[in-house]
Symmetry: C2
Subunit: 240 residues, 2 copies
DNA sequence: ATCAGCTAATGGTTTAACCATTAGGAAGCT
DNA sequence: AGCTTCCTAATGGTTAAACCATTAGCTGAT
């Protein structure tokens, strides 16, 4: 019947007001909030309380705070940052294991690739091929670090191709975390890396042929092999 | 080559120390941090700065703060709360539309139900049937509010049945948001609600038969119809 | 035994001052 | 003129001490 009356904390009220202004579009990304000493007067509060509100907004990913003169709170465009951090916490706390994540990836990336194939434009294919050639070049130069970055970009770009921000966020969240927590455990491995490249070559070809089923199968198998490789390294148990 | 040297902010250092203690399990869920006036001495900082750190930890969903004597910062078990809020921001800011979410649901819930069928125990089926009967009772009493709550519980429980926390978090995040932002636009509709119940009946039967393909088809169709209904209401454009 | 009210611990807020960082301008050098 | 160096002021970061608001548990009167 009734819901708990929220206990009033001044800083929460400030957070809500600013958040609503951002969400409703009254404050646009890139614009700047007034200085703390002005805001505190506008909200009729103390600077400490106002700063607690800014901390919350910053943690929510709604603003970014810069130092020095002409610094201040700048409204950010919403991105996957908080979700990435949140998933990171779950992984690091052991709540989510590598296998859990792999199972999710197999299902999700299969769907993502299907959509990507359905919606691929010629420009998309070109962009993917460009990334593929970059990755290949790094592979030939044995530049492991850049190879991984480019590999991640390819996955993320396939997410972009779905034209659906939900899939984009999910894809970015997962791959940012893979890069952060797992890639250090996969030292340069010529054989596996070549497999990886071959998979992408096949996916691009399936895209050109408009064969979403094939593309989906390839990526699902790709993820399965990646997971097996990680399990081999005995990585399923806790790490830093 | 180099990464930007992080500018040191005292409260961030405090956040990291406490967060690491929580993640590593040194601080268990339910236990309580010392009082602010003690913590400030332990970290050798001021109370204002310490409170900024607590605000961040609170926003991350790692602690919960209670008032009064024997109040204080209590370590929380990590849950989907932050992700739910984060997705809520995306929806409310118009970054994610109802159709985007529906497309994601169709793919994801299909996978979730498949896994749920594969892993269903007799106890699971019993629990689902219990929820189903509750929902049916609310339907017959025309208790719209409780029907919706029970409907949400069924979806969430199917997520639980995957035994994979990633799917569980995703399922909870999506349905919490559906409940928050969309259910108000679906006034009691006897016809649609009966459809809804029939779908669940069929899913439970498919589970008993171990027919994951059928269950998956039903839920995907279920989501499609839900989305069509919402589009009919002309809901695709901005709301509060 | 019950209930009202007191007590003290704890989070919430305010104020005022000082420190650290930084963009931009002023001064001085070549 | 063009460059470098330094100063200045605006802005976020931090500190300190005091007071307010809430609440669990005790104390005592009924």
């Amino acid at each position: 019947m009734f819901i708990k009356a929220k206990q009033s904390r001044v800083f929460q009220d400030v957070v809500e007001q600013i958040q609503n202004a951002i969400i409703s579009g009254k404050l646009e990304p890139g614009s700047k909030l007034p200085a703390e000493r002005e805001l505190k007067d506008m909200f009729n509060t103390s600077r400490g309380t106002l700063r607690e509100a800014l901390r919350v907004l910053e943690q929510k990913g709604l603003i970014e705070i810069k130092l020095g003169v002409s610094g201040g709170a700048i409204i950010k465009r919403i991105d996957a940052g908080i979700m990435t951090e949140s998933l990171g916490l779950l992984i690091r706390s052991g709540e989510v294991s590598l296998e859990h994540l792999a199972e999710f990836r197999i299902k999700t990336e299969g769907s993502i690739v299907e959509l990507a194939v359905q919606r691929a434009t010629k420009k998309d294919i070109k962009e993917l091929e460009k990334l593929f050639n970059q990755a290949k070049a790094y592979y030939e130069q044995s530049d492991w670090e850049n190879f991984l970055l480019t590999d991640e970009k390819m996955h993320t770009y396939i997410g972009t191709m779905t034209r659906n921000p939900v899939f984009q966020f999910v894809q970015k969240t997962i791959h940012d975390n893979i890069h952060l927590y797992y890639s250090e455990f996969l030292p340069m491995d010529k054989e596996r890396t070549l497999e990886n490249l071959t998979d992408f070559k096949k996916i691009i070809e399936a895209m050109k042929a408009g064969d979403e089923r094939a593309a989906s199968e390839i990526i699902m198998d790709h993820v399965k092999r990646f997971n097996d490789k990680m399990l081999e390294k005995g990585l399923q148990k806790g790490k830093a």
